[in-house]
């Protein structure tokens, strides 16, 4: 219980300090990275723990965002009423689609979920009566929390950090519970975990639905932050970005998920001096991380002085089973 609480508190404290002196523009980026971090923590359930290669994460973020946008603007619902319904719809949909889809493995699952994301994009672009097509949906009402409207970047950041802290703590609890261990067992050896009495189908669908639920939370945050949704934000390229965030940060690690989301959101800013060549450099940098830092940024933690293992073999052994997929 101590580590999840410390994690949530740490996230909040660091964010609070940062929010004191960052400019409005950087606060906006920090908000976007907090939203991405919520989504990537979700993806960590599906990919990091259960080993399901999901390339439809952006579609689930989009379902959450569109759910909130449609319910508040077309049906005039209150934001706080729309949020649970949008998340619920996404979770139920992901479980229903996961039931047949998760029989697939490896790159078959990757391509099937990619197809799902492409299908979502096509429907969101062309179902104009419901989604507004490429024009998207504007004028989403602002969210207020306990009577305070979250109108500016700073107050939204505090709220977002709260959500991220709660989710990170929850994810950390699940990681430590028998359910988290069941997911990792399914990832490491499906047949062996079935032999020990784990219902692998249920575990995989649960991991997938948990991932979709976090994605929907991120989508709701996105809709209330940007207050405009359009299909382009939930294109399959964003699914790949979420996976890239998880891999850059360090798969199977909650801290890694958050770090990856922050680094990849701020990277375009840090590389602005490259101008139009930014993407070329970004691709090469990603490749470099994959080749030279296969356990992601959290893999660097091994080099910290207080993490230097006393008995290298045993401790590294544990790490490597946690990180490898």
């Amino acid at each position: 219980m101590r580590i999840p609480l410390a994690l949530a508190f740490g996230i909040f404290a660091i964010g609070l300090v940062l929010s004191a002196f960052l400019s409005d523009y950087n606060l906006r980026l920090l908000n976007l990275s907090v939203i991405a971090a919520v989504a990537v923590i979700g993806l960590n359930f599906a990919f990091g723990y259960a080993g399901l290669i999901s390339l439809s994460h952006a579609a689930f973020v989009g379902m959450g965002a569109y759910g909130v946008a449609i319910l508040t603007t077309k049906f005039g619902w209150l934001p706080w009423l729309a949020v649970p319904v949008a998340i619920g719809i996404t979770v139920v949909f992901s479980a229903l689609i996961g039931f047949p889809l998760l029989r697939l493995r490896g790159h078959y699952l990757a391509l099937a979920t990619l197809g799902l994301n492409v299908a979502f994009y096509i429907v969101a672009t062309n179902w104009i009566e419901l989604t507004g097509g490429t024009n998207g949906i504007a004028r989403i009402p602002e969210l207020s929390f306990l009577g305070y409207p979250l109108a500016d970047e700073r107050s939204f950041l505090w709220f977002g950090l709260g959500v991220l802290g709660v989710l990170a703590a929850g994810a950390s609890l699940i990681h430590r519970s028998r359910y988290g261990r069941a997911m990792m067992a399914v990832r490491d050896d499906e047949i062996a975990s079935e032999m020990t009495g784990i219902n692998t189908t249920v575990v995989k669908i649960a991991a997938f639905a948990l991932a979709a639920g976090c994605a929907a939370v991120a989508g709701c945050l996105f809709a209330f932050h940007v207050r405009f949704v359009a299909p382009e934000d939930f294109n399959y390229a964003h699914s790949i970005t979420y996976l890239a965030m998880l891999i850059v940060g360090g798969e199977g690690s909650i801290v890694g998920a958050i770090l990856g989301a922050i680094v990849l959101t701020f990277l375009p800013e840090w590389l602005r001096f490259l101008g139009t060549a930014y993407l070329a450099f970004f691709g090469l940098l990603m490749l470099g991380i994959l080749i030279f830092l296969p356990t992601g940024i959290v893999g660097l933690g091994r080099f910290l002085p207080w993490r230097r293992p006393k008995r290298p073999a045993a401790i590294l052994g544990v790490r490597s089973t946690e990180v490898s997929s």
Binding site: L101, G106, L111, G115, A119, A237, L287, I291
Partner: protein, 291 residues
């Protein structure tokens, strides 16, 4: 009827391009196990190699085509050396993300070199029309179908009648056994990448006159090639051909007879249906073999 013939042949032409892209993708996948998400960017590079050779340097047709394909072969070899070799021991997803990353770099490099304005790559058969059963068809579309047929025949000869091709199939089947038989595995793997790049180059050169040569053309082609391989069967060359033609035909026929907005949804809907009901595709390997 004339309309249908015209649409059918245009669908076959587009489908041929998808089929070639899918074949390149499959050759790499069976030999190396790499799911190459940059496959679409390979085709885009092929088109722009043509733009550079034929338009920027003004080479005559045969020379320009030869130079573009040679450039693609060099590119395939470089890809093998710089991307595949360092990543080959990584997990499936790491390699997928790696090819995505290099795809982003490729697209950006093309944009830096050629700008984001689309080019119109001419065809040697520019403006020639053929009359078939009352339908007027661009000679280029017919040529694309014929060239694809010839390429497939050549590939068949390579894989079944030459020692190099048989070696490549042996490597695809079992790398360890192939090495024990004394085959130079690395050279054959490199050859698979080169072959894939050259096929993508052919696809790109033929696609240029049908679409506009645009640096962002890679992603839609990759998605269609993926759909083609799933429908035809992952790892199967006849499957890639059948799947590519099928996707091209549904795209063109679906756009005019069903709905132009949802034309892509038809192909992807069928792809997802195949994954759910028959994941090994029409001609594919049994899925348990590769799980």
């Amino acid at each position: 009827m004339a309309d249908f013939i015209q649409l059918f042949i245009n669908g076959l032409a587009i489908g041929s391009v998808y089929a070639l892209a899918a074949i390149g993708f499959i050759i790499v996948y069976s030999a190396t196990g790499v799911v190459n998400f940059a496959a679409g960017q390979f085709v885009m590079f092929g088109t722009f190699a043509g733009v550079a050779a034929l338009m920027n340097f003004g080479m005559p047709w045969p020379v320009g085509y030869a130079v573009s394909l040679a450039a693609m072969a060099v590119f395939g070899a470089l890809f093998f050396l710089l991307i595949y070799l360092p990543l080959r021991k990584s997990a499936v997803l790491t390699i997928i993300i790696g090819t995505v990353a290099i795809g982003i770099t490729m697209q950006n490099a093309a944009q830096l070199t050629f700008g984001s304005w689309p080019f119109r790559l001419p065809s040697p058969l520019e403006g020639i029309m053929v009359d078939i059963g009352g339908a007027v068809i661009a000679a280029h579309a017919l040529a694309v179908v014929v060239v694809t047929g010839v390429m497939i025949a050549l590939l068949w000869l390579l894989f079944y009648r030459t020692s190099v091709g048989i070696g490549m199939r042996a490597v695809a089947q079992d790398v360890q056994a192939a090495r024990l038989m004394g085959l130079n595995v690395n050279r054959l793997l490199a050859l698979s990448w080169i072959l894939a790049a050259v096929l993508a180059g052919v696809a790109g050169l033929m696609l240029g006159p049908m679409w506009f040569a645009d640096v962002s053309m890679g992603d839609p082609i990759a998605l269609k090639a993926f759909a083609a391989t799933i429908i035809g069967g992952f790892g199967s060359l006849p499957g890639a051909i059948a799947g590519g033609l099928f996707v091209g035909l549904t795209e063109v026929l679906g756009a005019s007879y069903i709905s132009s907005a949802y034309k892509d949804l038809i192909a992807f809907g069928i792809m997802i249906l195949f994954l759910l009901v028959r994941p090994q595709g029409v001609f594919g390997e049994r899925i348990q073999d590769r799980g």
